[in-house]
């Protein structure tokens, strides 16, 4: 079973990144809290430290959640690739449960390793940040103790979620039938989407309630800024619904986006490939959707806020002096923190796409035999990668604009006495960065699979294994 650990390295990378992020954030929060406590003015109040801890927890939870989705998808993809082997082992008498337990055990080992790496790397990074900040007088020297027992929390979270995600992702093992070891027909790699009704109903209910609350929040916000809290609850509920219902939401988006790339054979096959495993594609894209939605929501709200502040600044320049810089710094910090989850999701996409293409070697050989040239194969894979990235980015942007506007409207609609319509601010820089990032991700995700695809010899299509 040694060799089987080899396809687990992406999971290790994801676990290590999530662990590093969690530990780093915890240390930095601790450092800031220590600095605040040392400060004469703010030292008295615990509120700031508490708020910091709360915000850090939210970001760590998001990162760990996204990495769990990524891990379960990676494991499911690995299992799909091992179907033949698993079927053979089943054929000679191994039970499906034993096979699944084996994979979950690998997940546990990988989770522990990832958490360990995370604690070391996160602590190291936090130390680096402190040295840098102190040297540049951004932070006073503090007595912060790096043996903060709280770091076991993100570590434990990483171990548990990696283990659990491996268990969830290995569900497909139970469906592998021993006969698949000897059957030689066209691979049936579609995954059934039945048995999902319960989940979909929950998703729809959440989205409906969430939208209701969002609307209520916006209406209440016309007279009372507390409307934003109602809106926030609505946002969280409806977005949870979208994430739960990703299997239903993402495939149509992927189909639509797939059409944008034209009707050439390479583009058409790419569009089909992007949805051939609806479950896999949904999980591949939903992590990115989460990241993009959060970043967009946040920056649209802030941008609307900024527009209002700038208007106020024109009226009373002395009161609002320097507010722009502070806003920019806040936006930058938060975007980076949220962006980390998007990075984990992106790694997941790169890896899953690579695995999927590897599992299609035979089909690539067939296409070569039928007359696809190398350029067409490469185009096919780049377009598949682009379809996934574009679908995720677009969905995230649309959702984020909706949420961002609702947030701004609820927060600011009644802030100046009279109910007003708040124009959603468009954070052009952020949109630009997202588009560039999507382009880079498309290319990065397709480099390795495209290169491998171009090396496939048509002879493999004729080979009977």
């Amino acid at each position: 079973m040694r060799t089987r650990m080899k396809d687990q390295w992406p999971t290790l990378l994801v676990a290590a990144l999530a662990g590093t992020f969690g530990v780093l954030l915890l240390h930095v929060t601790g450092l800031l809290a220590a600095a605040i406590r040392a400060d004469d003015v703010t030292g008295e109040s615990d509120t700031v430290a508490l708020m910091l801890g709360f915000v850090a927890t939210v970001f760590v939870v998001i990162a760990v959640y996204v990495s769990a989705i990524v891990t379960s998808n990676t494991v499911a993809t690995v299992v799909a690739g091992r179907t033949r082997t698993i079927a053979l082992l089943r054929l000679i008498g191994s039970s499906a449960r034993a096979q699944r337990a084996q994979i979950a055990k690998e997940g546990l080992v990988v989770g522990i390793a990832g958490a360990a790496i995370g604690v070391l790397a996160g602590t190291g990074a936090a130390f680096g940040v402190e040295q840098f900040a102190v040297a540049n007088r951004m932070l006073p020297p503090t007595e912060y103790d790096y043996l903060n027992p709280a770091v076991v929390l993100p570590a434990i979270a990483v171990v548990l979620t990696t283990w659990l995600a491996s268990w969830v992702g290995s569900r497909r093992v139970l469906r592998v039938r021993p006969i698949e070891a000897i059957s030689n027909s066209n691979a049936q790699d579609r995954e059934e989407l039945g048995r999902r009704r319960g989940r979909n109903v929950t998703a729809i209910v959440l989205v409906a309630i969430g939208i209701g609350l969002l609307v209520t929040g916006v209406v209440v916000g016309l007279t009372d800024p507390m409307g934003v809290l109602i809106g926030l609850a609505g946002g969280i509920l409806s977005f949870t619904g979208v994430v739960l219902g990703a299997d239903v939401v993402m495939p149509p988006v992927l189909r639509l986006v797939g059409r944008l790339f034209g009707r050439s054979p390479a583009a058409r096959l790419a569009a089909e490939n992007a949805v051939r495993n609806p479950e896999r594609s949904s999980r591949m894209t939903i992590g990115l959707v989460i990241g993009v939605t959060l970043v967009t929501t946040f920056s649209v709200t802030m941008e609307s806020y900024r527009a209002m502040l700038l208007a106020a600044q024109e009226a009373q320049p002395e009161v609002y002096a320097g507010i722009d810089d502070m806003l920019n710094a806040t936006i930058a910090v938060f975007t980076v923190l949220i962006g980390f989850s998007a990075l984990i999701a992106a790694i997941g996409m790169v890896n899953t796409l690579s695995l999927s293409v590897m599992q299609r070697t035979r089909e690539l050989g067939l296409l070569r035999a039928l007359g696809f040239d190398r350029g067409q194969l490469r185009r096919m894979i780049v377009v598949e990668s682009a379809a996934l990235t574009v679908a995720a980015t677009l969905t995230g942007l649309v959702l984020g604009f909706g949420y961002g506007w609702a947030g701004a409207q609820a927060l600011l609609g009644g802030a100046q006495g009279d109910p007003v319509f708040v124009m959603p601010g468009v954070p052009w820089v952020m949109v630009g960065v997202l588009i560039v990032a999507a382009g880079v991700l498309t290319l990065v995700a397709s480099i390795a699979p495209a290169r491998r695809a171009m090396r496939v010899s048509p002879v493999v299509a004729l080979a009977v294994d």
């Binding site: 030689n184 027909s185 096959l269 067939l366 035999a369 190398r374 004729l462």
Partner: protein
């Protein structure tokens, strides 16, 4: 003036063909000085024990693999030293393939699979070609299944689609490597019958590798390979004659 393969009525020809894998003591000679010509419009079966070099011969003749020595022609084109791009176009336009399994692109329906070679060429079938494709769908009994995906078809139906695709562009030569290897004997016989009809009625040249004497008995000509050499070149034969020869080959080995 040089004599072209087509002047001899040949659709494909190899001369002095050799294929070796590996070097030194571990080297395997898959093909050893093979020379042969396939005649236009004929249905040729290639037989021989496992490992005798049948698949290797076919891969090289189809431009999927390159020989260690010797030359290969398809029609009058010397394909021995053609580059990848030229070979790709050649496969697209002038060669049809039927494999033992995994013949069809799983994400395309029946019609999409059959039309794929045309689309790769960036063109629509002409009216004449479309009529031919419709006739193929009809003859192969695929009329009602054009929008089905491969996983919705039985093994025999999948092979019929593969046949339709291989014949659709009216290629110079169709290569089939154990096309019935995965089918039960009745379905296999039906599929073979269709290949034989394509050759007899429409003059399609076909080269088919098979282990099955009944399958080979549909062919106009049967080549026997052993240890990378052609050991017998026979005309149409009965399954009994073919079995008898195969058996004698095994006993001699």
């Amino acid at each position: 003036m040089q004599i072209q393969p087509s002047d001899l009525g040949l659709i494909a020809r190899v001369a002095g063909l050799a294929k070796r894998y590996g070097h030194g003591a571990g080297a395997v000679t898959a093909l050893d000085d093979v020379s042969l010509g396939l005649r236009r419009g004929e249905f040729t079966a290639i037989m021989g024990p496992s490992g005798s070099g049948k698949s290797t011969l076919m891969h090289i003749m189809a431009g999927l693999d390159s020989p260690t020595a010797g030359r290969v022609w398809l029609g009058d084109t010397d394909i021995t030293e053609l580059g990848d791009a030229a070979l790709t176009v050649l496969r697209r336009r002038r060669i049809g393939f039927i494999f033992q399994s995994f013949n069809l692109v799983p994400t395309l329906d029946v019609r999409g699979n059959v039309m794929l070679p045309f689309e790769l060429d960036g063109r629509r079938p002409t009216q004449d070609e479309q009529a031919w494709i419709d006739e193929l769908f009809d003859t192969l009994g695929l009329g009602g299944r054009l929008t089905h995906r491969p996983h919705e078809l039985s093994g025999g139906q999948q092979q019929r689609v593969a046949i339709a695709r291989a014949l659709a562009t009216r290629p110079d030569l169709v290569f089939a490597d154990e096309p019935t290897g995965n089918l039960d004997s009745r379905t296999g016989r039906e599929v073979l019958g269709l290949l034989a009809v394509a050759s007899a009625r429409y003059g399609q040249s076909i080269a088919m590798v098979t282990h099955d004497p009944v399958a080979a008995s549909h062919a106009d000509r049967i080549l026997f390979l052993a240890d990378g050499k052609i050991v017998r070149d026979a005309g149409r034969s009965t399954p009994e004659e073919i079995s008898a020869f195969m058996l004698s080959m095994e006993l001699a080995a």
